[in-house]
């Protein structure tokens, strides 16, 4: 499979879950391993461009496909706008849910650059945060959306 753009080949047990493959075999511990029951969403990564819960995908099922993890958000030493939004608006406290939230937020903004609060809440509705009450997460995503809109305006002027 391709992980964050790099081809990865590995012999694995069929029952190995994608989240454990990423963390234990590739050392990509940014993806968190949470509830193990596809409820909490801490393990969210992209599979072929869409966020999925990697505790409920076999690593073997991802063979030949594209996987993207939170480690790939930072580009050329610069944090992604959603990462900066979470910093600016206190989108995290303990940080456990954050990698999953970031990946879902990035996917949302790629499809819908100016989501409403309701659309943001729906997009993260499969993910659990026990610190923030979600309000600051929503604000963080809104910050990122505004930041990107500003950048687009600046680019086109």
């Amino acid at each position: 499979m391709r992980v964050n753009g790099a081809e990865v080949t590995c012999e694995i047990e069929a029952r190995l879950l994608l989240v454990h493959f990423l963390r234990d075999h590739l050392g990509l511990t940014g993806t968190h391993w949470g509830c193990d029951t596809s409820n909490c969403g801490a393990c969210a990564v992209w599979l072929d461009g869409e966020p999925v819960k990697s505790c409920t995908v076999l690593a073997a099922m991802a063979a030949g496909h594209d996987v993207r993890t939170v480690e790939d958000l930072e580009r050329f030493g610069e944090l992604d706008p959603v990462q900066r939004g979470f910093m600016e608006c206190h989108g995290l406290q303990c940080g456990f849910c954050t990698p999953g939230m970031l990946m879902t937020a990035r996917a949302l903004l790629d499809r819908n650059p100016s989501p409403s609060e309701q659309e943001i809440r729906e997009a993260i509705s499969g993910q659990v945060c026990r610190c923030t009450g979600y309000a600051t997460i929503v604000r963080s995503v809104q910050w990122a959306a505004a930041e990107e809109a500003g950048t687009r305006v600046a680019d086109s002027s």
Partner: protein, 299 residues
Amino acid sequence: MQVPAPFDYERATSVDHAIQLLDRLGSTARVVAGGHSLLPMMKLRLVNFEYLIDINDLHRDLGYVRVEPAQIRIGAMTRHRELLESPELLRLFPIFHDAERVIADPLVRNRGTIGGALCQADPSEDLSAVCTTLDASCVIRGVGGERVVTMAEFYRGPYETAVGPAEMLTEIRIPVRPNGSSAFEKVGRRAGDWAVVSCGVGVWLDDGAIADARVGLAAVGPNTTGIPAVSQALHGRPPSEELYAEAGAIAAEYCTPVTDQRGTADYKRHLAAELTKRALRRAVARVAGPGSGADKGVG
């Protein structure tokens, strides 16, 4: 750590290949599509298989919503998200859009498939109620060819379907009839949860009267339940609030809920009546058309 017991992994490259594998491996094998019901059950060791046959590559053959004059055909590998976003389904069967918005969550909907949902045959599963409501039929393919069964024939009991060990569900067909619409109502304990009760309604009008109406309920019996008595009671009568209440009362009477952690049997009967009423009201309003404003009615 929850991991499934050891198994061997095979990846099917075509429907025929999947069926050959199933035929060879028998009941020790199971196909996996989205995996969001099967893998959690395997992690809990509620089920164990010697082989899993990954059919996700078959999405290119079985991921579709095709509109024909008299029916819609939905490939078994069509994912929840695709059903939610299908403009054809929104136009012809808005019940899918209603239901898909409240099935699990967006990440699960990116993986889960209609075929997987139906084959799981969970009595609380929403798409099963939708397909029961719409009088869908299921195309099952095996070594000897294809057969088509009704939803009533498809469900054998909780977690049991008519799909044999060497067969797979390939397509769901839904008849398209004029001057009709549909709606879905669900009450769950929290976002993304299974239904306490959910209810689908399909209704077809003729000259201001109900030509046909179908109700499908989830989570109030061993299978998703069609309520033929409602169809009989509504046939030929003009829609009205009194009629919706009557239909709700019949639905409550004919369903068979049990008390569990999601609620008491009495509460579920109450919901069956109320949700039948609300879904009927919305479906009838939709026949009048989105411009009528009647669709906005509160439940």
